[in-house]
């Protein structure tokens, strides 16, 4: 019992700290959902809401069978009705246009309804094929140009941000309120290793978060990665590090979990809106663009999209990587200086 023990029985502390982080995460079902489930649910919902629809045919009422034959086509549903019924159908929105036999052929429609103007154009083209324009229509639905292609990189960026902020910021403050931080610094534990365990955990998590979202995007929506996969992983890592730093920063002095939750939301909410997760930052006025560009989530999203959609290489995303590196360095430096261990 009092025999001094050799190093043989000593577990490695960095490994034990990291293991503890992973165990504590995977034993918390709520945390698992918010990290992995929530982005998936969100991408399903948004993917369905903004899916590329087949063009809907227009509905046109006609009063003669002869017109009906000439109009019927892929994009036009023809309803053969008498004059009164046709008027009613137009008024109640069941059809967009009524075509009355001529001569001259008469179009009845409400010009303020875009569908009606479309129906008129389609009817016109069908009735006067010789006047067809000398252009060719080309539908744009190939991968890379759809909303879901824009959305998936944004969701990856958002997931990296929120799991970093909550997974470090909230967890550290909870340890402080439970006096666990104090208990740990009462041991010879290396503070650097303690912080590294969080960084390592976040990096390991990327190898779960990324494949889940990427695989999901590929399987369900055929969202691919145009550029290099290693580069995509590197960009995600840079993002994870900068949000690890910010998570540590918001946690460095907060004394209770309400405070840190408030701080986390304060940091994240503006970026949810302004960093191009759900819609392009280009929608904001030019005057604020320089500010948006230095937000870490903007940089991360832009870099992710450049690699995933445009297939860009390292050089093209240099400025974004620079922003992420600067945020990482600054946040860790300040956090370590002001961190409250007790």
């Amino acid at each position: 019992m009092n025999a001094p023990l050799t190093d043989r029985s000593r577990p490695n502390s960095l490994w034990e700290l990291t293991l503890a982080r992973l165990r504590l995460f995977f034993r918390e079902p709520g945390a698992i959902f918010w990290t992995f489930g929530f982005p998936l649910v969100l991408s399903i919902a948004l993917g369905i809401a903004f899916r590329n629809r087949q063009p809907e045919p227009v509905h046109i009422a006609v009063e003669s069978p002869e017109l009906a034959t000439r109009l019927r086509g892929e994009q036009i549903r023809v309803h053969l009705l008498d004059a009164g019924a046709a008027r009613t159908a137009l008024r109640t929105g069941k059809v967009e246009l009524v075509v009355q036999p001529g001569p001259p052929i008469v179009y009845l429609f409400d010009p303020t309804r875009p569908e009606s103007r479309l129906a008129r154009a389609l009817a016109d083209a069908a009735l006067h094929p010789r006047g067809a324009p000398a252009t060719v229509d080309k539908p744009v639905t190939e991968p890379g140009s759809r909303y879901i292609d824009f959305l998936i990189p944004g969701l990856i960026g958002m997931t990296i941000m929120s799991s970093g902020m909550w997974g470090i910021g909230y967890v550290v403050v909870e340890m402080r309120t439970r006096k666990l931080l104090k208990r740990l610094v009462a041991t010879p534990m290396s503070k650097a290793q303690f912080l590294w365990s969080f960084v390592i955990m976040r990096s390991l998590f990327l190898f779960l978060e990324l494949p889940i979202l990427l695989g999901f995007g590929k399987l369900i929506f055929d969202v691919g990665v145009a550029g290099s996969l290693p580069l995509l992983v590197a960009v995600s890592c840079a993002g994870a590090l900068s949000f690890a730093g910010l998570g540590l920063l918001v946690a460095s002095r907060a004394q209770n979990t309400q405070t840190v939750s408030g701080l986390i939301n304060l940091v994240m909410l503006p970026m949810f809106v302004a960093s191009g997760v759900f819609f392009s930052t280009a929608r904001f006025p030019d005057a604020v663009q320089p500010y948006l560009r230095v937000l870490p989530l903007t940089a991360l999203n832009d870099a992710l999209r450049a690699v995933m959609i445009d297939g860009s290489g390292v050089r093209a995303i240099g400025p974004q990587i620079l922003v992420l590196a600067a945020v990482t360095a600054a946040s860790f430096a300040v956090a370590l200086r002001i961190f409250r261990w007790r």
């Binding site: 000593r10 577990p11 502390s13 700290l17 503890a20 504590l24 918390e28 208990r183 009462a186 010879p188």
Partner: protein
């Protein structure tokens, strides 16, 4: 080595207007179990956390195992075992995982199995910490302090809130540790605990040491080993002059007499006092010492 395990001089800690520790001198010898006994708010935790290097004193000097905080932190931390008054170990780690984590911070220490046996938690090794009872959690906290095989063990109110059986189990752990010749500094507001475990006790009140000695010495300072408490319709003033009576102290509803020889004092008391409505006797305890010194009870 004759140097003290812990020595502090003129220790002061102020929080704004509040003076938590008010010029405190202590010397804990190697191999003894030293107790800080005092009511809530006396400054025990503040003192101990300063000695543990977890809090900075406003003034005063501290020496632990011949070393100083801020200068020798690394070496010191390797040799201390600490159980804070309040720590919530990770709830969703098992007993064994928690111990292994703490073990990993120390260069030398004990095997996990050995420590589990020591605190009788072997059959709980795979239980999540959140599933443990209060007493088991507390024993785990002490186990985390013992896993380094420390030279000096700090225990801040190790048994507060525990049932008598859990308390006794923890006492056995502390006595076992002491039997190895190691040093313990513990705080408590249970006088039975101080009497049972401690070689020497410092009674603390309002940030000061108001009495110091072995439990026997402190009790002997009352002048008698028995205490007679009584209430009566009329209580004469001169009871302390009766044969065998060494001291008297009025309380809210009667009087407490310190008595040397119960068989001599009791008949004399009963003869002198008319209309006794309540009478009880007990062995003098550290509680009586505290009441004698401050006029208040330890647990109020």
């Amino acid at each position: 080595m004759t140097e003290a395990a812990v020595r502090c001089e003129k220790l002061v800690k102020r929080y704004g207007e509040v003076t938590a520790v008010d010029g405190l001198d202590l010397e804990v010898r190697r191999g003894e179990c030293f107790g800080l006994l005092g009511p809530n708010g006396a400054g025990k935790t503040t003192t101990v956390e300063i000695l543990e290097g977890l809090n900075d004193p406003t003034a005063g000097t501290v020496e632990v195992l011949g070393m100083r905080w801020t200068r020798d932190d690394k070496a010191l931390r390797q040799r201390l075992g600490i159980s804070l008054q309040e720590t919530h170990l990770p709830e969703k780690l098992t007993v064994e995982e928690n111990l292994r984590l703490f073990r990993s911070f120390y260069q030398r220490g004990r095997e996990i199995d050995e420590v589990l046996d020591l605190v009788e938690l072997r059959d709980k090794r795979r239980s999540w910490t959140e599933k443990l009872s209060g007493g088991q959690k507390q024993r785990l906290a002490v186990a985390c302090a013992l896993v380094s095989d420390p030279d000096l063990l700090f225990l801040d109110e190790p048994t507060t809130g525990l049932d008598p059986q859990s308390r006794r189990q923890l006492w056995d752990v502390v006595l076992g540790f002491k039997a190895l010749g190691r040093t313990v500094l513990l705080t408590t507001h249970y006088m039975e605990e101080a009497e049972r475990l401690c070689d020497r006790v410092a009674i603390i009140d309002k940030g000061k040491v108001i009495a110091l000695g072995t439990p026997a010495e402190l009790i002997a300072s009352l002048g008698g080993e028995e205490v007679v408490e009584l209430a009566a319709e009329v209580l004469p003033e001169d009871l302390s002059t009766l044969p065998g009576v060494r001291g008297a102290r009025r309380s809210a509803d009667g009087i407490a007499l310190t008595v040397e020889h119960l068989h001599i004092a009791l008949p004399a008391i009963l003869q002198r006092v008319r209309g006794v409505t309540r009478l009880s006797t007990h062995h003098a305890s550290l509680e009586d010492v505290f009441v004698h010194l401050t006029g208040r009870h330890l647990r109020e």
